[in-house]
Symmetry: C2
Subunit: 440 residues, 2 copies
Amino acid sequence: MDSMLAFLVAARRCEIHDLEQLARSCELVHAVSELVHRLQAERGASNLHLASGGASFGAERAARVEASAAAEAAVRAWLAQPEVCQAEPAQAMPGGARLFTRVAFALHALDGLTGTRAAVDALRCTAGEATQHFSRVIAALLALVFEAADVAAEPAVSRLLVALFNLMQGKELAGQERASGAAAFAAGGAASAGARGDQALLHLIEAQEACFERFEAFCPPAVRSSWEQARARMPMAELERLRRKLIAAGQGAALEPALAEPWFACCSQRLEIMRETEVALADGLRAACAQRIAALRADPDDPQSLLRALAGLPAAPAALGALVGPSAGEAGAGVPNRPAGDEPAGGEPIGPRLTRSIVDVLQAQSLRLQAMSDELAAVRATLDERKLVERAKGVLMRHQGLAEDEAYRLLRQTAMNQGRRLVDVAQAVLAMAELLPRRG
Amino acid sequence: MDSMLAFLVAARRCEIHDLEQLARSCELVHAVSELVHRLQAERGASNLHLASGGASFGAERAARVEASAAAEAAVRAWLAQPEVCQAEPAQAMPGGARLFTRVAFALHALDGLTGTRAAVDALRCTAGEATQHFSRVIAALLALVFEAADVAAEPAVSRLLVALFNLMQGKELAGQERASGAAAFAAGGAASAGARGDQALLHLIEAQEACFERFEAFCPPAVRSSWEQARARMPMAELERLRRKLIAAGQGAALEPALAEPWFACCSQRLEIMRETEVALADGLRAACAQRIAALRADPDDPQSLLRALAGLPAAPAALGALVGPSAGEAGAGVPNRPAGDEPAGGEPIGPRLTRSIVDVLQAQSLRLQAMSDELAAVRATLDERKLVERAKGVLMRHQGLAEDEAYRLLRQTAMNQGRRLVDVAQAVLAMAELLPRRG
C-alpha cells in the first residue's frame, strides 16, 4: 500500500479514536454534573436541618442523602469499569495523567462525605462547617469538569464543555448564595453572617453573573434560547427583594428568621430551573461526540473510502513519472513521482487521477486540522484566563491571609483602578508572588 | 484497592506511556534531521552539476544521491515498522492525527524526488528549479519536526525540539543561501539572480540569524557552549567577504564565476559545522526522554511504591473516621473518611499515616502537572508566533502576489514603521485577510 495513504488513513483513525475517548470523558462529566446537583440539594437540606437544631427537615435531608449517594454510586461505578481505571495507558481518556489526577482528587473528597454526614446526623457541626465541606467536594468535582474541558481536543465539544463548566460553576455560586443567605436569615441578621456578609453576598452574585456570561458566550444557539426561556421562569423579583434585605442586614438591619424558608425555596426553584439547561447541555455533549464521529466516518474524503476505491481500480500500468513530471509540482507540495516497486499491495498502481485526489484529501485534512487547532486555542484561552485568576487568588490568600472573595475583590478593584484587564492583573500578581511578604 | 490510589497509579502510568510515545517521535525526528542534512548536500551537488552543464561534480553528486537515498530509506523503514504505521490509534505517537498528516505530506514530497533526480540526470531542469524541488521536500520534513515540537507534552523535551527545529530551519536557510549565491556567482552576476537577488540574500541572512537566536534561547547550556565553539570555527570572514560581493552584484557589479567554488566550499563548511550541533541536539532528545522516564520510575513518591508499601502493611483496624474527622480537613481538599467496605483488596485498611502520604503524593503530582502545563504553554507560545507569521506570509503571497521573502519584508517593515511586534502585525494581516483584494 502506498505509504503516504497509509499515514493518511492512520491520521483519520487517530482522529476518530480521540473522539471516542473524548466521548467517554463526556460520559463521566454527565454523571458528575448529576452528582454535583444532588450534593447541592443535600447541602441545602443539611443546612436547614442543622439550623433547626435537628427539629425539622430530617426526612427531606434523608431523601437528599439517598439521592446523592445514588449519584455518587453511579460515578464510582462508571469509574470502576475495567476499561476506565484498569485501562492500558494508551486507552486512557484524553489528557490521561491530568484528568486521572483530578479524578483521584475528586474521589478523595468524596471519601470525606461519610464523615461529614455522620457529623450532620449527630448535630456535631454548624451549618457553616457543613456548607464548607460540601462545597469542597463540589469544587473537586467541578475541577474535574474543568480539566475535561481543558484537555478536550475537538473544538465543538470543547466549547460545550466550557459552556457546561461555566453554567455549573455559576449554579454552584448560586447554591453557595442560597446557603449563606439561609444561614443569615436563620440567625436573624448580621450576627451570623459577620460584618462582611453583605460583601460576600455581593461577590457571589457578581461571580455568578460572570459565569453565566461565559456560559452564554460558548453555548450553542438552541440551548441559549431554552436558557433565555428558563431565566424568564426564575423567581427573580422575589430573589432580588430578599437579596436586598440581606444586604441591608450587612449595614446593621435585623432579618426576620421566618424569611429563611421563602429564601431557601426561591433559591432552590432557581437552581432547579438552571438544572434543566445543565441537563440539556450535558446530553448535548454525547450527541456532539456521536455527530462528529459520524461526520468523519461519512466524509466522502475519508481515506478509507479511497482505499476501497483503490481495491476496485482497473490496472493502469503507465509510468506515473512520465505523466506528472517534477515541473508539474504545485500547491507547495509537488506532485508525487512514485518510485518503482512502491505499488499498492494489491499489485495495482494508483492512477494519476486518484493520486491527485489523495493529494487533495491530504491538503483538506491538513487545513481542517489546522483550523481545529486554531479554534481550540481560542476556546482554551478563556480557560487559561480562569487558571491565572484562580492562581492569583491563591497567592493573595496565602500571602496576604485574605478570604477567597476578598482576594477576588482585590484583583478586580486593582484592575478597575489601573484600567487593566483582570487577567493582566492576575498575571502581574503571579509574577510578583516571590516578592510578596508571607503572613505568619 | 482504594479507588483514589488506583487513579493516582493510572495517572502516573499515563504519564510514562506518553513519554514513551514521545521518545518514538524523537526517534523519527532524529532520522528526519539526518535525511534533511543529506538532501541539503545533494541539493548543493546537483546545483554544481547543473551549473557546469553536466561537465563536473557528477561523481560527487552520485555519492550524495546515494547518501540521501540511504537516509530516506532509513526514515521509510522507521515509518514502515508495524508498530508505527499499523499501530492501533491508541498506540500512535503523540498528536497522532496532526503528526501523521505531516508524515503523509513528507512522504508525498519524498515520492517526488525520483522525478527530480531524473530531471537532474538528464539536465532537463535548471539549478534554480532543482533547488526549488529539493527545498520543498526539505520544507515538508521541517514541518514534520515543527509538528513534533508542537504536540510534545513534556516541557524539557519540547524545549529541545523547539531548539532543534530552529537550528534546522536556520541551517536550511543557510543552505538556500549557499544555493542562490552559487547560482549568482556561476552566472557572473545579477543576470541570473535577478534584480532583487541581493534583497533575497539579505532576507536569508536575517532570517537565519532570527532562527539561531530562537535556537539559542531554547538550547540546553551544554549544547549552547559547544555551539559557541562551533561558531568560532566557521569561516565567517571569508563568508562575509563573499556575501559583500554578492550584495554589490545586486547593485550592478559583475561577479567572478571562479568564486562559485570557494563560496560553495565556505558555505558547505559552515553547514557541516552546524550539523555537529544538530547531531548533539538530536542525540540529546533520546537521552532527555530516557531520563524523564527513569526519573518518574525512580520517584520515591511513585504511587506504585505506595501500592507495594500497602501490600506489606500491618493490620490497622481502627476506624479512620474517628481519627481524622471532617473538621480536620485542610489544604483545600479535606482528609478522607474512607467509607466502610472500601478496604484494599488485600483486606488491610490503609493506615492514617499512609493515607496522609497518599494525599501528599496527590498534591505533589497535581502541582507538578500544573507546572509542566504552564512551562509547556510558554514553550509553545513561540511556536504559535511562528504559525501566525507563516500564515500571514501566505495571505500576502496569495492576495498580493508577493514572493515569500517579499511578504516577510512587508510584515517586518510594517512592524518597524508602526512600532509593533511582528506577531501582532501578522495577526492584523490574518484578521484583515477577508478584506484584502485578491490578485487575478
